[in-house]
Point group: D2
Chain length 377, copies 4
């Protein structure tokens, strides 16, 4: 018989929805010791909080996150807020002894991230950062292939994350769904938003980076700010590219932009090893491309693996072979794994400490771009 | 404020899961007048029914479908049973004045299907058959393109549904998940299981058929029967191919098999019109291929539409552009549309009457194959 | 030191060009005992013949094919004429003791084809029919895979050839490049033109057919005839579909049309075997798709083989791995193989006798469509 | 009536073959004022020169390039030699008043390249560098789209050239086909060999670069040298990555490597503009991907243009729509354009002066990698 685990989500935006959805669904598909209970949502204004609670079946709502954290009936604090609020909320939640799931990136910068790591480790609370793409079955399969040693020595890792939603010059910055354009709320542009995902996956699949060399660009330098109503300087990076050395001797190449017309959310990565290579892309997230040089030379070619079989990671929990799952399911897997870890008393990656490594790379990337020079991670 | 609508699902197999999932999720994403309530699941044995109820949050369970239909607190009877049980259950549910959602194909044959149509129409109850692929956004978009008239005169419609899960000769027939191999339970093999989907979509997109010419094959002629434990003759069609004339003058070509190594659930269709063509495939269900001859000749080509934008059918209810949904969401859309229709007092396609047309084509196909001759629909 | 082999080509159209090109190029890439010499082209009117000879480097030209055949300095008669002229020219060439390469289809019908087979066999002259697609490296590789036995028992063979060039109703029939629309010159429409290719490949890869069941359609029933200037009834099939049984127990499905908007020359085939499957398509002719069920289940997928390595058929004669060759090269390979066979005194497939089998299938297909019934091959 | 133009090719390797092939074929497909005559090939040793001449139909052969240049019966000197010989031969040919076609890259470095530019301009001889990829029809089409202004403001240009042929550690360097691994013969590794192609295309499609920031790597640091028989230090770059600013304000990202397992010759580029984007890849060189944001939003998607229609660049000279040409044809187009320019007395791009710009970028890239810093071009 499963035990209830009371969830309090702070933030009722896009990520608030993906997390609520995950908690609601997870035990329909996974056998867990804990049954998540949607106890409280915290959002603003009050109407939004009430309506979010109704739609998603939360038992209650709050408009002040401190109140939510103060409640005894909350076991897990799930932070779905803009980046500039992660630190304060997470530290308070840790101090209150709550389990914490925090949206990525961990923090505005490494210093903040370090404080957060210290807080959760001091409090001894389970903690996880929502780098959800790790748990798309094809990406998890990539990790299994890497761990199998099939690739041999790694030569190259490349990733990019291409979007096109901010090309219009009359798109405002700041407030609601557009806080990602406001440097005060986001800390950075595509680096923290998109490259952070690419870096998290890369560190997971290919190990730590040694140094980076980056270039950033802001194509549209002024936009109306929704909070002030005035045209203000844009402080974020619209595009960021960097190359790097990995500790294992391979070279990395990363790029993110919101100005790649034709791509909505094209996160792709590729790993080239001595014996085999792997490619993946978020626009067809249910496939993994795999090239095995050990195949007989006449019939050697890139395999397009339709990651929908019972043998594939997580897939035995869903439908039948051949039938796709989608983006949202990565959050369900994340919750399944996190709750399993809590039940076992085991840390689940990426913890705050793991995510701090991604933060450090982001910081080095931004410093390199600013200083026009290589930067140690 | 939404009104509760009490759901009773009969059948706790694969389709029982997809339907339960749809009812649980629909109001998280769609604003509906009715709120479905998972009132009762009916399954066998009792343990399975209880555990299904727990997992999916049904308030109660039954082991006798007659009891479920007899309950006053059930508004909708949702039939997720093998084909040979559709008729009896549906007629009883209609007699009890229940709203009915029935899995496809409608019935074992046209005669049964006609009885069922008569029953629901006499009872005046809302009814729908679960040809869920209509409500995959890319397929719905195909319909919108057809309706726009962009294709011009239609010349060709072709579809196939290729699987490979029954190639192993030691796979038994009958019982549980394998009733689809048992002609007594399924009525036919790939014709009712796979071609029925292809035909439903075709009739929806391209209008009625006039006549058909078919070939069927049973590659593995004997299999152990799980219910008897004996090796028995296989009565189903392992593969079926037919061509046909549509009323609009176009030619149709259809094929289904469970012996196409390398394809798990490759349902594809293509429509060739005078001015434009459309292609779709279930293995990448979030894409629609579109060729428009009106494009400037130098830059004319098949467009791969990533059907994930807010402008695409149903997609404004989900996440953000570029992020895929999957197979299961077609059932959510089906429930959303059905409940909307019920609220408005409007029929929602495909009704039992609509599905009877698909049944007639299936029957003509099987008769043609048996008689080695053209058959009027 | 290579010996000259004098070539006389009859017909200066599209195929006259592809054959001339092949003879001119073959010894740049293949080491052959014979060096083809472009001795004479026969075409009409005289201006066209002269200019063709100049462009392609023929030593002389003719306007009467009987004269070309009568010349002692011609070793090979290469027939690139409309179908209705194959019989007479081939029989005359055989009577003159010439080696013969004849464009496909062999003849207007089986009776003609039989006469031609008898003629070349009686004369004992080397002979070949230009089913050039066999010698696209990816198709030859498909044959090698089939011969390796990797596929196991074959269940399905399907092929189609989709074009869209005759959709315009004001396209005339007959004369010059449009003789393919004139039943008097072509004998049939897509059946002899396109399906003949599909059938030749199928017989080569999957063995003989037992019986066929076909449907044909003429979408545009009247067109201006270029030779008469009048609107005349269209006698050809615009589209043809058939299914069949192969002798090996597998099912076949074939379709050709010139009304598939968006496809220029989309010849595709697929073979589904118990253990593995193969797909190919002429629009990306340098690739072969291969699925091997023997691969480890986690990393199993369709392989896209870029058929450009030195290990691939014919490819060691061309450039370096990764660099594509194209359509025309199939004719170069055909000439290379034919001349090698001549040097060795060995028949090279498909001979007239081989091509007669394809003719028989075409004839059965047309008879089936006309008679609305199954037809033995 | 066309006039003969006598060609002397220096170098009988891979490029000697592609150029010979182009001259032999060009007037079969293009109407030119000049008819190239394969007058002399220069290669070593003598046997190789003789056999090359025989195979390709050269009237004579030489083993000393000075003799070839000294011959009065040579109009065009075509340089297909390793990079370290370009300068001396080109300058001598210019001094002799010859028309010059030189393989890429222009030279070992900018200083050499400048000398060569000065020499041909002083001599007033027609000159061209063989950046053949410009003349693949899909790439030429990309240029036409760029020139049409359809893309709007350009944000991003990215290209890579991925190969895997030098992964084996026991592959020697130097001599014959392996001079590309020998820094003394090649000047650099992938930068001059592969990136030079990417840069040439980029400058052509997107205009000049301002500054670059690069990283190079040599994965295998010692290899047996074929000329000395000893294990020697590898002096070339095995991989090179750089990003840059273009003068038009867009960002560039380039990568080349010979250690990308699974890719034989995967040259790809992509341009992202405000209104439209373009992608191309050498492994499917007959296709161009095009995304036009001006398309109706519901049916907007990347178009896969099969560049085989009569409306496409160069394609009206070849076969019929739908039929692919390949790699080698880019050289035929190059010769067609060059001979047309010579006839008209017009320079044909890329001239030596144009190619010097690519050389400058290569030099800046290598300097940046060495200096670990941004470098002005």
């Amino acid at each position: 018989m499963s035990k209830p685990l009371n969830i309090g989500i702070i933030g009722g935006g896009f990520m608030g929805r993906t997390h609520s959805n995950a908690y609601r669904r997870v035990t329909n598909f996974f056998d867990l010791e804990y049954q998540p209970v949607l106890k409280a949502i915290c959002a603003l204004p009050e109407d939004a909080a009430r309506s979010f609670a109704e739609r998603w079946g939360f038992e209650s709502f709050e408009t002040d996150w401190r109140k939510l954290i103060a409640r005894d009936d909350i076991d897990v604090v799930d932070i779905c807020l803009p980046n500039n609020l992660h630190r304060e909320v997470a530290i308070a939640a840790a101090a209150a002894g709550k389990i914490i799931l925090c949206e990525k990136p961990l923090a505005m910068n490494t210093a903040e991230g370090q404080e957060m790591v210290d807080a959760v480790e001091k409090a001894g609370v389970a903690n996880l950062v929502s780098y959800n793409y790790r748990r798309i079955p094809a990406v998890t399969l990539a990790r299994q292939i890497v761990e199998s040693g099939k690739l041999g020595r790694i030569f190259h890792y490349r990733a990019n994350f291409l979007q096109d939603w901010t090309i219009a010059a009359d798109l405002p910055q700041g407030g609601d769904a557009l806080w990602r354009l406001d440097v005060a709320a986001a800390g950075s542009g595509v680096t923290g938003d998109l490259l952070a995902h690419c870096i998290d996956t890369a560190l997971w699949l290919n190990g730590p980076m040694v140094d980076v060399n980056a270039m950033t660009e802001t194509f549209i330098t002024e936009r109306t700010h929704q909070l002030t109503g005035k045209v203000e300087k844009v402080g974020i990076d619209d595009a960021c590219t960097f190359f790097c050395h990995f500790k294992n001797g391979s070279l990395g190449l990363f790029e993110a932009t919101r100005y790649a017309r034709g791509h909505k959310a094209l996160y792709t990565f590729e790993i080239n090893g001595e014996h085999a290579s792997i490619k993946w892309d978020l626009h067809d997230l249910h496939r993994l491309e795999f090239f095995d040089h050990a195949d007989d030379s006449q019939v050697r070619g890139w395999r397009s693996i339709h990651v929908s079989d019972g043998d594939h990671p997580y897939m035995d929990h869903w439908w039948v072979p051949g039938l796709q799952i989608g983006y949202e399911h990565s959050f369900v897997h994340q919750v399944a794994d996190f709750l399993t870890g809590i039940a076992k008393g085991e840390a689940v990656a990426p913890t705050f400490r793991d995510a701090l490594e991604t933060q450090k790379v982001c910081e080095a990337v931004l410093a390199s771009a600013k200083g026009h020079s290589w930067q140690q991670v």
